[in-house]
Symmetry: C2
Subunit: 423 residues, 2 copies
């Protein structure tokens, strides 16, 4: 790595809306997307909602000359829908499937069946280690009464923790994906505060694209008004986030989004808008004092967002326990009903009706049993998240008490000593 | 960190066999274990099979003066059973739940309900970063016909990958736990080859304990002969594994195991034997040439173990797909039966029998449906593991082709350059 080098990284991100049989004009959109990616020759193209592995294989073949490396992240029953195409060889990849991801009985929402996850790719570019993450969090179906809020906060925390623990030796960290979170939503703030990632849209001086950087806009012919809820002008839920370790300086030179059409003013690639960012990594200029991820000025927002997340997850946990209790009563009721039906059938009274009711009663017991087990597991997972948040919160408070000088070291754990037995 | 310092780390590991209502003398064993841990004052005590959170809370209270830091890893429906007590403050913790962990319909084996996982603790000791991992893999119920083999290999790989990706900045890595793997089993070799961890039992010059370091021995009054299967003299399935980064040198000064009794020749703490290791971390002596994790001599065993794991996972995947197909036929059969029963009942023929058969038919359709979904997910997860193994195998072969000098860099990705655009 020469001292005056600049690493220029061109990144593409798109939620492809690739649901087999349901998404309109899928084949045509995937074809046009492949043509565009080949023409533009990005360093990395990170895609979400490629639910069909055939679509991935089609793109893989088509993009092979321009993007020799590719990976599809498999998980859950349907799949995570995440995949990536890279101009550079991929050194390593792995993935983490989120512990909580909605409810299996909310079949019409389908998220549970997808196994939503975060995928990690490690690339080596001019002696720098780049950790690139791609993710897709649980969808928001009703902003006013969001039953998935605790799950999405837990996912944002798991995502942040995964990045935090796997990127400790990375020089550059990049996260792209559909977070299903607005910029000021709790999960988004939590992710940014805990990882120290910067938002390309907020950082760049050269932005071209949809108003306010929205990635779902009413101009897009695949977007229905109800998808935007109380935001008729559009929402920003897809992101390019990045950071570099100290000694390096990363900036977003340009950021573009599509604006309800494809880049040639043709029909859109998806119901989401694509993000195209050009990032520059340089050595820190001498006058630049590399600020730690959680510096003094940031410790207060971190504490406050951790506290907020703790409260949200705690509420979710109470809710999960309540549902488990309800399920417990339903199991009891079902068993009682079954006993009654057995007695009626054995006694010869309304025998046929008793036999007819046998199926729903067994169904009630088994269904309530599964419901109970699911919510016990949900409560346990939320409890795990709450404990982790509590621990970090405790350490953030400790750091605040010790004063600004000790904060970065204590929170990031660079140097703190402990007891040692010396010989 | 002084140049001539030695960090001495005393570690305790035990699978506690703490199943509420089922494990014999649980309360007494937990009490005596607490007394012993307090007396010995280890740096770290890592426990498995603490299934009851009450047991953990009891130990937490009891051990508070000696081990001010503690953590219980919650997951799944029952819990991971993992917990840890530390004399030193815990900087960070997180966990990864294994994607595959047996079958929900194998209720009598129960593993699926536990949410088996690996827990990570980050500690800072005299300026060194210690990543301590605790884990418990899926049990082996029948060595001759092990239906869980592919799952255990996949778990060992996920464990190895989790350690590999989260310990890149750690100075010292420690893994304790019940791997349910014999030393020469595929999963154990895969884990050691990919992470570069060393086995305390094989490395120490001062071992005291059961023959061959066994951690389940026939002398233990809680061990039944059938638990040992074809190994009547005992099996070694619990481990203390470690490594240090280059520049540091770690050795196991002493390793002890209990021998079917507690350390005072009283009744045993568990049906497993406890491991007690004293590890020493020093600066590398000048004559010591720190060998890379995957050095030239080791690349061949790595390639061969990766190939073996690939084949095992591939076979598991074929099996999973076969079960999914069987389930598909069962769904069809169930639907056919239901239609027939509806026709019979409507026509007034053997109405009562038709109504009686209604419940098992609906059960067949729903059960087969759940079975189908589970095995589709299993196949997907195994496919993910296979792809990761394939990728690493490809890179290991590449490294071999390039000759011994390029191997460590290529495999561990320390320095390899790639295309770069310079300005």
């Amino acid at each position: 790595m020469k001292p005056n080098f600049t690493l220029r990284l061109r990144v593409f991100n798109l939620n492809c809306w690739g649901i087999p049989y349901l998404s309109k004009h899928r084949a045509d959109r995937v074809k046009r997307l492949g043509d565009f990616l080949n023409l533009e020759s990005f360093d990395l193209a990170l895609l979400e909602e490629v639910w069909s592995e055939q679509d991935f294989q089609y793109l893989r073949q088509k993009l092979l000359p321009t993007y020799p490396a590719a990976h599809y992240f498999r998980s859950g029953i349907i799949g995570s829908g995440l995949c990536v195409f890279s101009k550079h060889s991929i050194q390593e990849f792995t993935q983490h499937v989120f512990t909580l991801n909605g409810y299996p009985y909310m079949i019409h929402h389908c998220d549970w069946f997808c196994g939503k996850a975060v995928g990690l790719l490690v690339l080596h570019l001019s002696g720098l280690v780049l950790n690139a993450y791609v993710t897709h969090l649980h969808a928001e179906y009703n902003r006013q009464k969001d039953i998935y809020l605790a799950h999405r906060v837990a996912q944002a925390w798991e995502l942040a923790q995964f990045i935090h623990h796997t990127s400790k030796k990375a020089d550059v960290v990049l996260l792209c994906g559909d977070l299903n979170l607005h910029p000021k939503d709790l999960g988004c703030r939590l992710l940014k505060e805990w990882t120290g990632l910067h938002d390309a849209y907020l950082e760049t001086r050269d932005f071209k694209g949809s108003e306010e950087g929205c990635t779902m806009v009413p101009k897009n012919c695949y977007v229905k008004q109800q998808d935007l809820g109380p935001f008729p002008l559009g929402i920003r839920i897809d992101y390019v986030l990045y950071k570099a370790v100290s000694g390096l300086y990363i900036s977003c030179k340009t950021l573009k989004t599509t604006t309800g059409h494809d880049p040639y003013s043709g029909p859109p690639f998806s119901d989401h808008e694509a993000l195209m960012a050009t990032l520059c990594v340089r050595h820190s200029p001498p006058q630049h004092n590399p600020s730690p991820t959680h510096g003094p000025a940031e410790s207060s927002p971190l504490t406050s967002v951790l506290r907020e997340a703790w409260a949200e997850v705690d509420q979710g946990m109470a809710q999960a326990r309540w549902w488990a209790t309800v399920a417990g009563y339903a199991i009891g009721l079902g068993l009682l009903l079954l006993a009654l039906l057995c007695a009626l059938a054995a006694g010869g009274w309304i025998r046929e009706a008793a036999l007819l009711l046998w199926t729903p009663s067994v169904g009630l017991v088994l269904g309530a049993g599964a419901f109970y087990l699911f919510h016990v597991q949900e409560a346990k997972s939320l409890c795990k998240t709450r404990t982790e948040l509590q621990h970090v919160l405790g350490r953030a408070r400790e750091a605040q008490d010790l004063g600004p000088e000790s904060q970065p070291a204590l929170l990031l754990g660079q140097q703190e000593g402990d007891r040692v037995e010396e010989q």
